[in-house]
């Protein structure tokens, strides 16, 4: 188990290295005259040259890359070209907000999909049909459109929730709930649709297995057959779908944060990319890469827990 974890981790680090290198070279190669962009068209040639020197843009790309990499390994990602704020600070202050939304959505989706999927698999009939329709709609409607309508009806219409902004959990619980609920719902619906469908089909599949009959023949209660044995076996495929959706969820969070005016990574991403703030963009690439790799590792470990065959000793 330990070697498996270490190997997956090393593979993740290698992947991260490739992504970061490609991103760095592409971004700087395409960045153009940065100092001119920052200073505007009125700046003189001399000030532009000076700015370029300050930013370290007068040295060759490769040597700049290695110096960046060296600093990055110590946790120093430089500072923003426009605000001079340290990249690490800018990202870390926003990271918790985005992670709250994303993991909130993952937890809500996991619970809801398990309930809906099992229900549809067992009851059939109208419950099943309702979930089929819900799946199609959830899959077909982009999350941000749902978000817009949630804002329209539940924040502007009924004032149940706040349309914009974010209150940290540490400040006020009710404030946190009223700002987080709608974004989490908007993020979850598409995910629930996909995962519930998978839970439904894998529960139906598991119920057809021979060992279900044998368990019943032993007098094991129906509750244990279903919730201990069938659900555990159906969990693996559902978890795979959840894992595959995670990267998309991070992307979705970028747009959702814009809709709700939430100061998370998405806002940094939108700001940094619209200004062409390359150090900040690079910091984001690293942050998102690390999150994706850690989540995939966690899912692999969870998969091993659910499915003994997937365990590599």
């Amino acid at each position: 188990m330990l070697t498996f974890t270490v190997r997956r981790l090393l593979y993740g680090v290698l992947l991260l290295f490739v992504i970061v290198t490609l991103a760095y070279l592409l971004l700087y190669a395409a960045a153009g005259n940065v100092a001119r962009t920052i200073l505007g068209p009125t700046a003189t040639q001399a000030t532009v040259a000076l700015k370029n020197k300050q930013l370290g843009l007068n040295t060759p790309l490769i040597s700049r890359y290695f110096s960046w990499l060296g600093h990055a390994l110590t946790g120093n990602f430089g500072s923003s070209w426009f605000t001079n704020q340290a990249v690490t600070t800018a990202i870390l202050t926003r990271l918790t907000v985005t992670l709250t939304l994303v993991f909130g959505a993952v937890i809500v989706s996991a619970v809801l999909s398990a309930v809906l999927g099992v229900w549809a698999a067992l009851r059939g009939g109208w419950v099943d049909r309702f979930i089929q329709v819900f799946t199609v709609l959830g899959f077909a409607i982009p999350g941000f459109i749902i978000a817009v309508f949630l804002v329209r009806f539940f924040a502007l219409g009924t004032h149940w929730f706040k349309p914009t902004g974010y209150v940290p959990l540490t400040t006020s619980f009710s404030g946190w709930v009223s700002t987080v609920t709608l974004p989490v719902i908007a993020l979850s619906i598409g995910l629930v649709a996909g995962v519930a469908q998978q839970v439904r089909s894998s529960v139906i599949d598991a119920l057809r297995q021979d060992w279900v009959r044998t368990l019943r023949s032993r007098g094991v209660s129906e509750r244990s057959v279903l919730f201990k044995h069938v659900l555990r076996n159906a969990g693996g495929p559902a978890l795979s779908v959840l894992a595959l959706s995670f990267v998309g969820l991070l992307g979705g969070a970028v747009i959702i944060e814009e809709v709700f005016g939430i100061p998370g990574l998405g806002q940094v991403a939108v700001l940094a990319t619209s200004e062409g703030d390359v150090p900040l963009v690079m910091g984001l690439v690293v942050a998102i890469g690390v999150i994706v790799i850690l989540v995939n590792l966690a899912i692999d470990l969870l998969q091993g827990f659910l499915n003994p065959k997937a365990r590599i000793s």
Binding site: V136, L137, V148, R152, G251, V270, T273, S274, K309
Partner: protein, 625 residues
């Protein structure tokens, strides 16, 4: 060479067959109401985009300060937006850009994905490993963030953004094509084509690409939907090219005017949702039809008289099998003849009845409203302490009878008639809660296929102790001690290790021993063993039979053993019932039946035993006898 020549001749036939299947697919798709509706909606949207100038006279980009935020009607069908532009015109022209953008992304992803998938799947080697690496890389990138970064350095061009997104979507096609091609690569007809000198390019084009055509269309429609969503999302954020009308730009404008004119956001949202739903329904309908045609229709030949029952693998209950059994059950030949009952031998007659089945009928409701009877008017007596063999060919209804006793018939199956008395209590009428108490505690079950009858996700120990803790109410440690003792009793060399193992770590013989241990763990009166040796190697079969005999002697348990093999009966059974076409045709002490098989079917079964000393009688003779 001759073999290759033969298959080489066959290859065109097979592809012709597949082409026929595909044209069936297209035809069937057109009969799928949901699919056709979705396709029509999509065609309508595309037509509306193409015919935009005919449907509106307004210029979608015509800004007019005088006509800002006008409501629907009064010259503007859907009103005007925050800059006084006609919403209906923008919706129509927006469809052009939005759909064309998504098409660019889909085409880029499809062309690159299919090409690399074909090469990787067909040739493999280094290209395969590097391609799968790149795929993993692309899948680890959040699309929106990459597109935002690309937009930052390349500017807000719809087409550039969509090309880059297409590259990010390559894995969607690559994985599909790669899986299909590497699956079909070693098919016989592809081998045959290769051996007969067809060039690789032609093989790919004719034999491989055609196989994945429908799944590619399916994937394409899904990717197209995703591309629309992402592009609309980017424009909605205000990252798109503001100079062109797109649904995303309209959403952006609508959202900024959400307070002043809420309906502005509705129209583009509706356009995106309708297109998305239509694409999803189209893909679902296509997938349904594809899955239908991928499942070959199973035909089961009717076995009139069994020549070699030992060779027949007992089938699971598929609808086809049920219907086949029903057909044979309706056969009038055996209907009226009564069960041949042999005289009891003096020694066994004294034991009291444990299981008494009277007039049992089991049926499966069919789609047309009729009920297929797979067991009809079966009566069976099992005496306490005996080993009773229930023998017959596949589909004769013996397993259905066994499952009825456990009340564990497959979905849809029901007991139509008759009674099943265990110690005088009719199991066909007790509540399901009572039945749960009886199962495991008084009746136990040993299945046929050991590997598929253990839950792969739990250890052997967990699966052994769970019923004991429920049935016997013992503590966890006590249950473990009992389980270890049982594992030793059934001849497992290292009980501790097996206790901690998962099913996939055991051999078939070991797994069957574990299942036998599980069956006797709660001291049942009756053990129903459904072909307990069929799935095992010959040497293991003998060991398992020895084990059953030993356990029966030690525990004094009664065994009803379902089998198609008279060798098993001779080895183990005190009494036998012979089953054919859902009925018992002959019953009595094993010795008596071996000495004097009276029913022609029993004799056919005897003749089927491969015995060196006695050759099988002529087929026609045994049939007419």
């Amino acid at each position: 060479m001759t073999e290759a020549a033969v298959t080489g001749v066959l290859a065109p036939d097979i592809t012709a067959d597949m082409r026929a299947a595909r044209s069936h697919l297209a035809r069937r798709f057109l009969k799928n109401p949901l699919g056709v509706t979705a396709l029509s909606v999509l065609v309508l949207i595309v037509l509306a985009a193409i015919c935009a100038p005919l449907l509106t006279s307004y210029d979608p980009n015509n800004v007019s300060v005088l006509h800002i935020l006008q409501g629907p009607g009064a010259g503007h069908l859907l009103g005007t937006d925050g800059a006084g532009r006609d919403v209906w015109a923008r919706l129509l022209y927006g469809a052009r850009y939005t759909l064309a953008g998504a098409l660019v992304a889909t085409v880029v992803a499809a062309v690159l994905g299919i090409a690399s998938g074909l090469v990787a799947g067909y040739y493999g080697k280094w290209f395969e490993s590097s391609a799968s690496w790149v795929t993993t890389l692309l899948m680890a990138l959040p699309g929106i963030v990459v597109l935002l970064a690309a937009r930052a350095v390349l500017g807000p061009s719809l087409w550039t953004v969509m090309v880059i997104f297409g590259v990010l979507l390559i894995p969607a096609f690559y994985r599909l094509v790669y899986a299909a091609v590497s699956g079909v690569r070693n098919e016989l007809f592809v081998d045959a084509a290769r051996v007969s000198g067809v060039s690789d390019l032609r093989i790919i084009g004719r034999h491989i690409l055609t196989v994945v055509r429908a799944p590619i269309i399916l994937q394409g429609s899904i990717v197209f939907g995703i591309a629309i969503a992402v592009q609309v999302g980017l424009d909605f954020l205000g990252f798109g090219d503001q100079a062109i009308p797109t649904w995303g730009n309209m959403l952006n404008d609508g959202f900024t005017n959400l307070y002043r004119d809420p309906q502005l956001v509705v129209w583009p949202a509706l356009a995106v949702v309708i297109t998305g739903v239509a694409l999803t329904l189209f893909a679902n309908a296509l997938r349904d039809e594809l899955e239908q045609s991928a499942r070959p229709r199973r035909r089961r030949r009717r076995r009139a008289t069994m020549a070699t029952p030992a060779e027949v693998t007992p089938a699971e209950v598929t609808p086809a099998a049920v219907t086949a059994a029903a057909v044979t059950a309706a056969d009038p030949v055996q209907r009226d003849s009564d069960t041949i009952v042999h005289e009891e031998l003096s020694s066994s007659a004294a034991a009291p009845l444990l299981l008494h089945i009277e007039g049992l009928a089991v049926g499966y409701p069919q789609a047309d409203g009729s009920v297929a009877r797979v067991v009809d008017n079966v009566s069976l007596d099992v005496r306490r302490g005996e080993v009773h063999g229930l023998i017959g060919e596949s589909g004769s209804g013996k397993t259905q009878t066994a499952w009825s006793v456990l009340r564990l018939l497959p979905a849809g199956g029901e007991i139509l008639d008759g009674s099943i008395c265990l110690d005088g209590e009719d199991l066909s009428t007790v509540s399901s809660a009572q039945m749960r108490d009886i199962r495991g505690g008084r009746i136990a079950y040993i299945p046929q296929e050991p590997m598929s009858n253990l839950d792969p996700s739990f250890t052997i120990g967990n699966q052994l102790t769970e019923p004991m803790r429920v049935k016997l109410g013992v503590s966890k440690t006590e249950a473990k001690a009992r389980a270890l003792k049982l594992l030793g009793q059934v001849g497992i060399p290292n009980p501790e290790r097996t206790f901690a193992s998962y099913p996939h770590e055991l051999s078939g013989g070991m797994a069957q021993r574990v299942l036998i241990a599980g069956a006797v763990s709660c001291d049942p009166d009756l053990v129903i063993a459904d072909e307990p040796t069929t799935a095992l190697d010959v040497t293991i079969q003998a060991e398992i039979l020895d084990l059953l005999r030993e356990l029966q002697r030690e525990l004094g348990v009664t065994i009803l053993i379902v089998t198609h093999n008279f060798g098993v009966v001779a080895d183990l059974c005190d009494r036998v019932s012979v089953m054919q076409k859902g009925r018992i045709v002959e019953t009595g002490p094993a010795r008596a039946i071996f000495a004097d098989p009276r029913h022609p079917y029993t004799r056919t079964l005897f003749d089927a035993i491969l015995d060196e000393s006695q050759a099988r009688g002529p087929y026609a003779e045994s049939r007419s006898a």
